[in-house]
């Protein structure tokens, strides 16, 4: 099996990134809710919306991965390549977040985001769980490097349901912190938040490195089919998974 717990962890650790990017939306959802209970429900609907979008995207990626495996020549190890891609994306995204590498042409990105804002603003401020849910659906579609990294991971599974699973695990991982943010439990000092962001950024880098390693394990497994049993049973790599696949 793929390491769902690790992905869950990746979501959990990476979710400071989500709080930084989409936390504002969660706060708006919570703004007009009179009671904590109502706010919690709204936050859960919002996150459920995000999860549904993530799952759909995961399913599409998984299916796309499957088609890629089917159509690409045998020589190309698609899961390994996708894994490596996902890992690299995660590392790059993490390094962006740590501030070690600077983003160029940033002026382009917020503009397209700004165009969405009037729709979001209207939707987020409206009462009713269905609007929070709709806003969540849309939030899931916003461009996000972390999301793309996990989507390539989902594609590397080469299966629709497993791709969905990957994204579900990732999404669930992001839920606690996002709900906490929206529910007002995240009234931390800026310094604390910055430290948390920094830690989260390194966690994303770590997840990326592990994913790259997993890709390497895929390659190794493909190259050395006879030594299946010798593959170490490391919980952080997919060697077992890869060898299991080989055995199918």
């Amino acid at each position: 099996m793929i390491e769902y717990p690790l992905i869950l962890l990746g979501g959990l650790l990476g979710s400071s990134h989500c709080v930084g990017m989409c936390g504002g939306f969660a706060m708006i959802v919570g703004m007009n809710k009179p009671t904590f209970r109502e706010n919690l429900w709204a936050q859960l609907s919002y996150s459920a919306g995000r999860l549904l979008t993530y799952c759909t995207l995961g399913a599409v990626s998984g299916y796309a991965g499957l088609r890629l495996v089917q159509t690409s020549p045998r020589l190309l190890n698609v899961p390994a390549a996708l894994c490596l891609l996902a890992g690299l994306l995660l590392v790059v995204e993490g390094l962006f977040a740590t501030g070690i590498i600077k983003r160029r042409g940033i002026s382009m990105a917020p503009q397209s985001g700004c165009l969405m804002s009037p729709l979001f603003a209207t939707m987020l401020k409206l009462p009713g769980l269905r609007n929070a849910f709709s806003a969540g659906l849309l939030t899931g579609m916003l461009p996000c490097g972390l999301l793309y990294a996990f989507l390539s991971l989902a594609a590397s599974t080469g299966d629709m349901l497993r791709g969905m699973g990957v994204m579900l695990a990732f999404g669930l991982g992001t839920v606690p912190l996002m709900v906490a943010t929206g529910a007002g439990a995240m009234l931390l000092k800026i310094a604390t938040r910055q430290r948390l962001m920094k830690a989260a950024a390194w966690c994303v880098v770590l997840t990326g490195v592990l994913t790259v390693y997993r890709g390497g394990a895929f390659l190794k497994a493909a190259n050395a089919p006879s030594r299946e049993t010798a593959t170490p049973a490391c919980p952080f790599c997919a060697a077992n998974d890869a060898s299991a696949k080989k055995g199918q």
């Binding site: 939306f25 995204e93 990105a109 503009q111 165009l115 009037p118 603003a121 709709s134």
Partner: protein, 729 residues
């Protein structure tokens, strides 16, 4: 007020109810330029009908939800039940098909119906639209899928119908928002006028004054309004009561606020800093200085430039061409692969070719640029002016009032007998007090005296010479004016002043003399001042590699000195016809030349140049001779405007290139059958977003290059939600 026939006769292009941009060939009633605007206006409609707005939003959310589910179902169908070999797989396939059908119906109902309505409306205006093609595609794929579902065999394309509807709606909506943003700068200008004002009315019974809060639109000429401190002046008017300092920087460029007292004129949109005023309106809000500026920008938006016409022509032939390609694709794939491929591929062609990006490429950049420029105090007459300004390689400047402030300042004062200085000053102050001549004003500003001014009798001005008056109780006259006046009135020059005059006559300067009792007593040396920003402006223009020269009618010695000072060739002692000739020569050499002047004295030269730039239009933005009006007397606007025009034109070229390349390549891929319609729909949205983002960057760059506060009125751009900056990683 009865309707003004002149007003009804002016041809006002019909504007979209949402984004307020001109709609070609529109009809009466609420008009939207696209379904995006219709949708956006329904969503954000704040005028009462909240129910409808929520309904639209709910519709979008629900459609999104169902679409995502439909996508998952069809994915599952492909992944697990593509070729049902077991009974379970067959049952699963059947189940998935039926449930997908059920989930598709709400999407069609909620998003398909508005699209159909829009297509129908355009059809009524005798316009074939891409909406119509898309609708046909959606109906065809939906219909085909229903047949497959009922028969239990064959592919279903519910996800195509759903994804197209959702993405087209979202994409159009984003475009509408983008267009609204493009006119944001203009709205920011308009928002300088308050929505409601306090009208002062005298109650007929008690004859007491009362204040009534009324909407700005109800104000008539002659109404009295109360404007408190830190409120904006709502209309052009005159102060009736009270004093205040007013920040007029937007119109005058003067960073120092102007003091206003009863009788002073006020401009709508300026800021009352500290006083409590009663103001009498002298113009309707939309006919005041600010209203005319906004109107001028509006008109500029409807004037189409060369690129815009190119895009228009392309858009016009685009539709039939795409129709033919789509039909060809359908026919070819129908012959070779089957009806399904024919349907999907022609649908993909229509989606990817949807000329949204192309149609947006130019106007959006132009609109954004015109609005941004206006906010920075530069009024451009339209897209064509922008293009011409961008191509300018030579710049000719007028001197007086353009490079120089036009009002001379005091350089030196010489007194024959130093003990007489106070007497000379107070007499000079008294004589110049009533005069409006620029020299008099300069002298009056200079001679600040605390002594009470002597009272004058028999004040008369001698045209071209000066002022003559009699100080109370004196027999002789006091004279203030040129050397010629002194000679004519046989005033004697004492040695000190005579020496000073001889010295300065070599270097031609202007001076004003004052004398009484048969003797010249004092001399004021005046000098035309270069504007503070003139040197920076010349440096900036040179870095834009513009060929600069100054054309002036002034004395050649002064011209030579100016040339030494600023390092730019100066041609002096030119008659107005010779200025024209200079411009004409450049033009016959094929040089694109812009002429900068005040727009009044040098109007012919401005009109003859490729681009005429008028300085300090202030409230008079309708100066016909100028293509570009600088509202403030700020020379630094010139290099900014030229740089900005170049940037805009390069943005337009990028947009056009991008949308042509993207659409062209996409059509080829789609007609070969390598592009799934759902992906084509997503790509189409991305393409539009690229063009939108690229154009709206112009607004940003306009702000970045400007000073901290472009309006100089404590203005801040209307920021949308704070969360915006947090949206994207």
């Amino acid at each position: 007020m009865s309707s003004n026939p002149l007003q009804t006769n002016t041809i006002e292009p019909v504007r979209c109810d949402y984004c307020e941009l001109p709609v070609p060939g529109a009809v009466q009633g609420p008009v939207f330029c696209c379904s995006g605007c219709r949708f956006a206006s329904a969503v954000t409609n704040e005028r009462g009908d909240v129910g409808a707005s929520r309904w639209m939003l709910t519709g979008l959310g629900v459609s999104l939800f169902f679409s995502l589910n439909v996508v998952m179902m069809t994915m599952a169908l492909w992944a697990y039940a593509d070729k049902p070999d077991t009974r379970f797989a067959a049952a699963l396939a059947d189940f998935l098909r039926w449930i997908a059908l059920v989930f598709t119906i709400p999407v069609i109902a909620w998003l398909g119906v508005p699209l159909a309505r829009n297509a129908g409306e355009l059809l009524k205006r005798r316009q074939l639209s891409t909406d119509l093609l898309l609708l046909t595609g959606v109906i065809a794929s939906f219909g085909y899928s229903i047949v497959s579902t009922i028969r239990g065999v064959g592919h279903v394309y519910y996800e195509v119908a759903c994804v197209i509807l959702v993405l087209v709606t979202l994409g159009r909506w984003l475009e509408a928002t983008g267009r609204l943003k493009a006119s944001e700068a203009l709205h920011a200008l308009e928002s300088l006028l308050p929505d409601t004002v306090h009208r002062v009315v005298t109650s007929p019974l008690s004859e007491q004054e009362q204040e009534v809060l009324v909407p700005l639109s109800e104000i008539c000429v002659g109404d009295r309004l109360r404007v408190r401190a830190s409120e904006r002046i709502p209309v052009d008017g005159i102060v009736i009561r009270g004093t205040a300092t007013i920040d007029e920087q937007f119109f005058t460029g003067e960073s120092w606020p102007a003091a206003k007292r009863p009788g002073s004129t006020l401009l709508g949109g300026t800021l009352n800093l500290d006083g409590d005023l009663i103001v009498k309106a002298t113009a309707l809000p939309q006919q005041g200085a600010l209203g005319r500026l906004v109107e001028a920008v509006r008109q500029a938006q409807s004037a189409k430039g060369h690129y815009e016409q190119l895009a228009d022509r392309c858009s016009r032939i685009f539709f039939p061409v795409i129709g033919v390609i789509a039909a060809g694709t359908a026919w070819w794939h129908g012959m070779h692969t089957g009806a399904e491929a024919a349907l999907l591929n022609s649908l993909a062609v229509v989606l990817i070719a949807c000329p949204c990006a192309l149609a947006l490429a130019t106007p959006l950049a132009v609109w954004a640029a015109l609005g941004t420029a206006a906010r920075r105090g530069v009024l451009l007459r339209g897209g064509e002016t922008l293009e011409r300004l961008a191509s300018v390689t030579a710049l000719r400047l007028d001197k007086t009032g353009t490079l120089t402030t036009g009002t001379p300042s005091m350089k030196q004062f010489v007194c024959e007998d130093d003990s007489e200085r106070d007497e000379v000053w107070s007499r000079a102050a008294a004589l110049t007090d009533s005069s409006t001549h620029v020299f008099s004003r300069a002298v009056r500003e200079f001679v600040e005296t605390t002594r009470p001014l002597p009272s004058l009798t028999e004040v008369r001005s001698v045209p071209g010479r000066g002022i003559v008056a009699r100080v109370d109780g004196e027999a002789g006259e006091t004279l203030l004016g040129s050397a010629r006046l002194m000679h004519e009135q046989s005033q004697r020059f004492a040695p000190r002043l005579a020496a000073a005059i001889r010295q300065w006559e070599i270097e031609p300067e202007s001076f004003v003399l004052i004398g009484w009792g048969g003797e010249v007593r004092g001399l004021f040396l005046l000098r035309e001042e270069l504007r503070a920003e003139a040197r920076d402006m010349i440096r900036d223009c040179q870095s834009l590699s513009l060929d600069l020269a100054v054309l002036t009618g002034d004395h050649s010695a002064r011209g030579a000195r100016l040339q030494r000072e600023i390092g730019v060739p100066v041609r002096s002692e030119l008659l107005p016809e010779e200025k024209l000739q200079a411009i004409r020569e450049l033009r016959t050499q094929g040089v694109r030349v812009a002429m900068v002047g005040d727009g009044v004295n040098d109007a012919p030269a401005l009109a003859l140049a490729d681009v005429g730039i008028a300085m300090g239009c202030g409230t008079d933005v309708t100066r016909e001779s100028a293509d570009v009006c600088l509202i403030r007397n700020d020379l630094s606007s010139i290099p900014w405007a030229i740089g900005f025009a170049r940037q805009t034109v390069s943005t337009i070229r990028q947009n056009l290139f991008w949308s042509f390349a993207y659409n062209g390549l996409g059509v080829i891929l789609a007609s070969c059958g390598w592009l799934h319609p759902a992906i084509a729909a997503a790509l189409m949205v991305i393409s539009s977003l690229m063009v939108l983002g690229n154009s709206l960057r112009l607004q940003q760059s306009g702000e970045l290059k400007s000073v901290d506060d472009p309006l100089g009125m404590g203005f801040k751009p209307q920021s949308t939600e704070q969360t915006v900056t947090e949206v994207t990683p």
